[in-house]
């Protein structure tokens, strides 16, 4: 069993006068059942063309509440106004502007639960990772 740890810290010196903000949270990434550490991951970089809607992560096995974690970062540096819009299950959740990142658990719970990204304002460069409970390689073509 592998141990993969995710830690987030969120800080600000000037958000609330006289009271610096310091949030810290950490968790070990566990497979479905929360007793065994995740060992499977897929990482990469991609360019998303303007107005091109891409499937970043396909829906997973049809397992309710399957355990996955998603990391996506918009590493575009050309222009701070560039962003990608991300959707889950065809629902727009948010925008990752240049430099923004996200880390979320992901259900992949049915055949329509893919995560899609669409670039606005030019070509966006993204970095991504998915941590998985299980994975089966596609069958070879006969």
């Amino acid at each position: 069993m592998a141990t993969t740890t995710a830690t987030v810290s969120i800080s600000s010196a000037d958000l609330m006068p006289g009271s610096p903000l310091n949030i810290s949270a950490s968790s070990t990434l566990m497979k479905t059942g929360i007793t065994t550490g995740m060992e499977l991951m897929e990482m990469g970089n991609a360019e998303v063309a303007q107005n091109y809607e891409a499937q970043l992560f396909a829906d997973g096995p049809a397992t309710d509440n399957g355990a996955y974690f998603i990391y996506v970062s918009n590493n575009t540096t050309e222009d701070s106004t560039y962003y990608i819009e991300y959707k889950i299950h065809e629902t727009v959740i948010g925008r990752l502007y240049a430099g923004d990142w996200m880390f979320v658990p992901y259900n992949a719970s049915d055949g329509d639960a893919e995560i899609e990204v669409k670039a606005l304002n030019g070509i966006n460069k993204i970095e991504y990772a998915m941590f998985k409970s299980a994975w089966t390689l596609p069958a070879a073509e006969s």
């Binding site: 600000s12 629902t91 923004d100």
Partner: protein
């Protein structure tokens, strides 16, 4: 205007033969509403944590504080995360759908914060 610095670190010494150890950070301008870390007791009924009409582009932090019970975080009628015990999420939210929380069972506590850009 205030500056928010979120940082994510992912690490493992044994997930692969190559060490996993990377960190990403950002610098966000926060100009609107803020809810600093707060906690709410959830139940199996839907709880609207953040109403879309009350926010614009925002950044959301969520953590399930319970040791055993997971909870669903829904956006509209189909998109959702399932945050298991001890897990967290940090993501940008464009406020096009309400964020609604419901526990899988019992009354687990959710820690949350929101920062409106």
């Amino acid at each position: 205007m205030a500056t928010l610095i979120p940082t994510l670190t992912l690490s493992s010494t044994d997930a692969t033969t190559d060490l996993l150890n990377f960190s990403v950070t950002d610098s966000l301008n926060i100009t609107q509403k803020v809810i600093a870390p707060s906690r709410v007791t959830t139940s199996t009924g839907d709880l609207t944590l953040f109403a879309s009409g009350s926010y614009s582009r925002s950044y959301v932090y969520l953590k399930n504080m319970d040791d055993t019970i997971a909870m669903d975080v829904d956006f509209g009628s189909t998109a959702s995360f399932n945050i298991r015990p001890g897990e967290f999420a940090f993501f940008p939210w464009h406020a096009s759908q309400n964020i609604v929380v419901a526990a899988d069972s019992g009354t687990p506590v959710l820690e949350y914060a929101i920062f409106e850009a």
